[in-house]
Amino acid sequence: MISFTNVAKYYENGSTSVALDEINLKINTGEFVTLVGKSGAGKSTLIKLIIGEEQPTRGKIIVAGQDVGKMRSTDLPTLRRKLGVVFQDFRLLPKKTVHENVAFAMEVAGRLEREINEVVPQVLDMVGLADRAGHFPNQLSGGEKQRVAIARAMINRPMVIIADEPTGNLDPVNTWEIIKLLTKINELGTTIILATHSKDIVNALGKRVVSIDKGRVVRDEQNGRYILN
């Protein structure tokens, strides 16, 4: 479903800095993959490459059958509608209510109002925010904001949800709520890619662990644990 073949990403700022190098990775449908690594290891760059926010310097990235590196910028929105993305800083639209934030993802996919009005409350109910539908992001707690982001990511039933440090700004209680939610979504058949540097989460999940260090995949284990030198 997602494959990286000999992918490298370099940044040129006077000198060349290597963000990712020799990445060969395959993620199958329905998997729950955790990407672990220290800050700056290259986890976020890898995610940016999947969603087409960055282009690889070298190599081939296939997402849902499409070569992301060769896609035109006008085709990227179509790809992104097939993916759900959750970030550490939530990235909610501040001038839209909870309902509108979630509905926006359906609206950009061209779904009808009737369908939106039916599905959004169901999904908000699933993430435990049915009573917050009319609130604006600044009226929510961090955990609630992240649940809105997850609701938005899953509303179009994407093939994959990519979560980049989704619990980085949350307290332990909310952290486990979010992880439980992602596990539940995965059980319903959606592929999950979770980037984190939380040892506790990785070890508790016991899923596939891809360890990244200095831009390279140093370990890739099913039922893995958090091991970094």
């Binding site: 926010e53 006008t74 990227l76 990235r91 639209l93 001038k95 996919a109």
Partner: protein
């Protein structure tokens, strides 16, 4: 398509209504730009009226010898009328000149008495000539001074008034140029300030734009609402600026009449109501939409 458009309008309105201070600040700038635009219209009307008045005051008169036959004067009139520089030629016969003179001085007993004592009409027939432009009087005067007409002409007022005509002509010319430069400069200033304000407003929304892109919104759905917001700024800006400007014109117009008796700004604004509102809307919407469109482009690259 209808759903797409309705969503664009909905998002545009949400951007505007929920933007609060940012929307208010942007609107204030657009209103100021439109007030400048209206000010320029008033400035143009005032200068045009003053210059027209000035131009109307300029003419040259050819006085013929009292015994000159009317058909000879009419021949001169015909030749002058055919000159490309001539706008209008008015023939005042001796009788008409006398009648006008009597009318003008009817309250002056001494003049009336003096006229009554004269057995004949002392006045000369006159051609009053207006040129199309003030700087064309020299050419007309040169034509009038031709040798063949010298036996019948008595006086041509051009030479006596040449200095003042030239000066007025220069004033009119300079005022026109300064007016044009001022209009261009102020319009450009208003456009640049509005553009910067809208750019800043969109810059402050750059994260939202990024989020929309990540969610998979096509560029049209991201930029569309900003165009709609631009239209809203234009329409509301036009409405607010008119609400500010019209009372000002209504109360200020009578005072302007002290300086320019022929200028009725109120009447001008009422007779040109729809075209002025149209220009305001057009200028406001164009300012809002074009600024938004330019400003948003750089955030839609990837």
């Amino acid at each position: 398509m209808a759903t797409f458009l309705s969503r664009i309008f909905k998002y545009g309105w949400q951007n505007f209504s929920r933007g609060k201070w940012l929307s208010a600040a942007t609107l204030v700038i657009i209103v100021l730009a439109l007030v400048v635009f209206e000010g320029l219209i008033v400035f143009t009307v005032i200068t045009k009226t003053s210059l027209t008045l000035l131009q109307e005051k300029i003419d040259i008169s050819v006085y013929f010898k009292p015994k000159t036959a009317e058909d000879e004067i009419l021949k001169v009139k015909k030749v002058i009328e055919e000159l490309p520089e001539t706008a209008e030629v008015e023939y005042v016969s001796r009788d008409k000149a006398l009648a006008l003179f009597k009318e003008t001085h009817k309250d002056d007993a001494a003049i009336s008495q003096a006229l009554a004592e004269l057995n004949e009409n002392p006045l000369s027939p006159v051609l009053n000539i207006k040129a199309k432009k003030p700087d064309q009087y020299a050419a007309i005067a040169a034509e009038l001074e031709r040798e063949s007409w010298k036996p019948i002409t008595q006086k041509i007022t051009y030479r006596q008034n040449q200095t003042i005509i030239d000066r007025l002509s220069k004033i009119i010319d300079i005022t026109n140029r300064v007016g044009l430069i001022l209009t261009i400069l102020l319009t450009l200033t208003a456009i640049v300030i509005t553009f910067n304000t809208v750019s800043l407003a969109i810059y402050s929304n750059r994260e939202e734009i990024g989020i929309m892109r990540l969610v998979g919104a096509p560029n049209s759905l991201i930029s569309g609402p900003y165009m709609v917001e631009g239209i809203i700024y234009g329409v509301m800006g036009a409405a607010v600026s008119l609400l500010i400007f019209w009372p000002a014109v209504y109360w200020g117009a009578p005072y302007l009449k002290y300086f320019l008796a022929d200028l009725d700004l109120r009447a001008y604004f009422f007779t040109h109501f729809f075209s002025l509102v149209g220009y305001q809307l057009l200028f406001g919407i164009a300012l809002g939409v074009i600024s938004s469109n330019f400003a948003i482009q750089k955030y839609l690259k990837i």
